[in-house]
């Protein structure tokens, strides 16, 4: 008769939990400093499969990374050659028309106010309330728009810092990982690597998924806006693509920005409606065609968890928190999965359920 499996306690340590809490608190306190590192880590994660692909052919990692950076530098140079003139012309167009947009918005609001005041009962009261709550603050902030855009300039330093840090992460990530494995006590290597493998798989799939989504939404928006002959197609497409990092937001931002531009460009509702229809189609195509392909192996989060992750991330870390709230939730879910797996393995050990048909003799 088989001996019953000895009961094992799930390892739990208050000091370890306390230490983890302190680490999380410290990370929260210095999160602003960590932003370039977190972005670099995400970028390295995205590029790593490409490097793996060449490593599988027996090429040295450092040569692949150097070649990749050279290729990207050349690609950026070529793209800048084509994109910079387009961006410059879009910006100069915006500069030239900014005043007319400003007065256009004022006129539209004035007309709208007059219409509402005239046609609706208590219209004047509604207009006064609306002016107080929406119109006045908006018109106060609108002239400050260039200042706000200039406020984003420090973010451009990330454009140089992130690739620089990513370079070293790509070069040395394997060495760091190997050192960590070698320093881990032999008996725990299996469990530690199991956790890291689970996180690696879910996080990697998620990050690659949102990058592909952002790229596709950006490209589709650009082509669609070009076809509709809407001004600032490149800027709106870029805005829509970048916003897609925050799930569901990309198409909404694109539709709002594109719709506004189309409204002031064509002075009617037909063009904005076309733009909204375009972004609705892009969103539906993304949901029907792209998401099933890229999220097949990615971690699935319940929409409520998804929203909670976005809100908590945004509250704690601002814009970066919005970007990384969901990946962080993926990591937490992977850790819970590992803990649950550990627990079920323990209970299975006591009463392991054999699959159906196991009683049939081996013949």
């Amino acid at each position: 008769m088989a001996e019953p499996a000895p009961s094992r306690r799930v390892p739990f340590s208050w000091p370890a939990l306390f230490a983890a809490g302190i680490v999380v608190y410290l990370l929260f306190r210095i999160h602003a400093v960590l932003i370039p590192f977190v972005l670099s880590f995400a970028l390295a994660y995205l590029v790593d499969p490409l490097i793996h692909n060449f490593e599988a052919r027996g090429l040295k990692r450092e040569h692949i990374v150097l070649t990749l950076y050279l290729v990207i530098a050349v690609a950026i140079g070529v793209a800048a050659n084509f994109l910079l003139p387009a961006m410059t012309s879009e910006l100069s167009l915006l500069q030239g028309r900014a005043a007319s947009y400003y007065t256009g918005i004022q006129d539209t609001f004035a007309k709208l106010q007059a219409e509402v005041a005239q046609r609706l009962p208590w219209g004047r009261h509604i207009v006064e309330k609306m002016s107080l709550k929406m119109y006045n603050p908006l018109m106060e902030h609108l002239p400050k728009l260039p200042t706000y855009i200039l406020g984003l300039v420090p973010l451009f330093s990330l454009l140089f810092l992130v690739p620089f840090i990513t370079f070293f992460m790509l070069m040395d990530s394997k060495k760091f990982m190997q050192q960590a494995i070698d320093r881990c006590p032999g008996r725990h290597v299996e469990q530690v690597l199991h956790i890291s493998s689970e996180i690696d798989t879910s996080l990697g799939n998620y990050l690659r998924g949102i990058m592909i989504t952002a790229g596709i939404i950006g490209a589709a928006s650009y082509l669609g806006l070009l076809a509709l002959e809407v001004d600032y197609a490149l800027a709106i497409a870029a805005l829509s693509g970048v916003s897609s990092f925050i799930p569901y937001v990309g198409a909404i931002v694109g539709a709002l920005a594109g719709g506004l531009v189309a409204f002031f460009q064509y002075h009617g509702f037909a063009a904005p409606l076309k733009v909204v229809a375009l972004f609705t189609c892009i969103r539906l195509a993304d949901e029907a065609l792209v998401q099933p392909l890229i999220s097949r192996h990615a971690m699935h989060l319940h929409p409520m968890v998804f929203l909670l992750a976005l809100m908590v991330g945004g509250k704690l870390f601002g814009f970066i928190g919005l970007l990384f709230g969901v990946p962080a939730a993926c990591v937490i879910k992977a850790l819970i999965g590992v803990a649950w797996d550990y627990y079920t393995s323990q209970t299975q050990a006591a009463g392991h359920l054999s699959p159906e048909g196991v009683e049939v003799p081996y013949i």
Partner: protein, 173 residues
């Protein structure tokens, strides 16, 4: 000259490990490219003499392949004495049942001398199965054959001793 240039770009250690994988029966029939892809999924760890890989009762997570050195498998006997089960050398692999189900190991494993081992995890095997089905099928087919052979041997052994098979199959190390 061409060879020197090639040598500059080629990772010799990677090629050596790939050739090692090629020599194993579990990866028989895989092309050099597929073996290269597979090698990306492995973790490598050097164990010092006497260092424990896992103990009986630890939850199994990975398949171990001995690249160099010697690994001793033992089972806990009465009075806490360890009974030797097997000694494995380069090219041997063990713990493969962890790729199928996460159950406690049924034996202890420790390095008898300085040994280098390659570890493959279930999550990585899943990646292989989805990303490179040809490699995944080759591994799973070999595992199925291995299980079948072990079961046949166990059945024959029990029949020879005239004993009934145990009601529950125990997880292999």
């Amino acid at each position: 000259m061409l060879e020197k240039i090639r040598g500059f770009f080629i990772d010799k250690q990677f090629i050596r490990k790939r050739e090692f994988l090629k020599s194993l029966s579990i990866f028989k029939g895989l092309s050099a490219r597929e073996l290269g892809q597979l090698l990306q999924m492995f973790h490598s760890r050097t164990y010092h003499e006497g260092e424990t890989l896992f103990l009986e009762g630890d939850i199994g997570r990975a398949l171990f392949i001995v690249e160099s050195g010697r690994i001793e498998l033992t089972k806990n006997g009465p009075g806490g004495r360890k009974q030797p089960l097997a000694e494995l050398g380069p090219g041997s692999f063990f713990g493969e049942m962890a790729l199928l189900e996460h159950l406690p190991r049924s034996a202890n494993a420790a390095a008898k001398e300085r040994s280098v081992l390659l570890l493959l995890y279930r999550s990585k095997l899943d990646e292989i199965l989805h990303g490179y089905p040809h490699i995944g099928v080759a591994i799973m087919t070999h595992l199925a054959r291995l299980l079948s052979s072990r079961l046949r041997r166990a059945s024959e052994s029990m029949a020879a001793r005239g004993t009934e098979p145990a009601p529950r199959d125990e997880a292999a190390a």
